[in-house]
Symmetry: none
Subunit: 208 residues, 2 copies
């Protein structure tokens, strides 16, 4: 079924072999590095000591005579306290039956009364590795302060809308806005509070 149907369904698709030949946007790493070093007021010798790379090597990198290895770049970024954005601003197959579960937006009605409203997604499948939820967190409801939430596994969450504060056991609270995400061990105490005037909406996925 699959092969023939595939042809029928997508007759217009073609493989673009040309894509692999596309030009790489050249990052002038050396130039950038030199700017950073000099603006930090460092000489090559000083930079050498901080990074553990030889003076000569640094010189060659800055003058684009060599392309540093990943190892070298790690020494560079950690030694000079550069964060990467600053520097670059500019298993196989088991053929069983396939499973698929689509959840339409707002298809399942959440409970109306609680602080949290959890909508379990992908309800038709069982024995999944992950459990996806979409939740609504009511604005300024501080009942959530009650106690840490703690359970097995790991959790990923992304803020779909609103403004939240994410509290966790071993860290300072952080504010999360739309588009921000967190990944954490769920056996670390954690808690979410909406801090803005509006309710917040999040997507979260657990795996254990």
């Amino acid at each position: 079924m699959s092969d023939q149907q595939q042809q029928d369904i997508y007759p217009s698709m073609t493989i673009s072999t040309d894509q692999s030949e596309q030009k790489i946007a050249p990052i002038k790493l050396g130039e950038r590095l030199k700017e950073i070093r000099t603006s930090l007021g460092l000489t090559l010798e000083e930079a050498s000591q901080k990074t553990g790379l030889a003076r000569s090597t640094l010189s060659k990198i800055e003058n684009e005579q060599i392309s540093p290895t990943f190892q070298a770049m790690q020494k560079l970024t950690s030694g000079l306290q550069i964060n990467i954005p600053q520097l670059f601003a500019a298993p196989k197959k088991v053929n069983t039956t396939g499973r698929r579960d689509i959840t339409r937006k707002d298809l399942g009605k959440p409970h109306p009364t609680s602080t949290y409203e959890h909508e379990l997604l992908a309800t038709q499948l069982t024995n999944k590795k992950m459990m996806p939820f979409k939740s609504l967190i009511r604005a300024r409801d501080f009942d959530a302060y009650a106690d840490w939430i703690r359970h097995d596994g790991e959790e990923f969450l992304l803020v779909l809308s609103g403004e939240l504060t994410f509290y966790s056991e071993y860290y300072e609270p952080v504010n999360l806005s739309e588009g921000d995400s967190v990944y954490y061990d769920a056996n670390m105490g954690h808690m979410l509070v909406s801090v803005s005037e509006e309710d917040a909406s999040i997507l979260w996925v657990t795996a254990s």
Copy 2:
């Protein structure tokens, strides 16, 4: 030589600076790369063609036998449409009780020209059960995924914006709008195409 060498590629090292001693957490670049490649449904051969790096080289990088040069990494990131900051972001905590990783919206600038832009989320943690990505799929671009993507594990995806068609091996194509989500076995052939005038944005999480 080889066995010992493999151990020594990314040593945990200590560098003395003026202020204090600083511990560098080694990045499992190879592991991360392999996850990305397989998540994209690519073989080494395909990745080789997209990046211009030899199959053997890719294998060695993935198995941490070599430390790629910056040049090689540029080929990697541009060929696979990964953005560099995500790839370089160093894990800060290794093997502690509670782990947490926050990714701010649009932290790293993606490549501007490509059909797909894959932003790896939660880059600071290693050994995660899940791999979260945020991706942009350009409108009406039918070239890139011309064949089924198939890899181990399960996948959950949610449409953040735009209008997509989700093709999968044993089912009829379905249209997905903002807020819709799918959960599926990733070893079932699957493919995403943006069908509206605007680019689409999705969040997806894999687990194996």
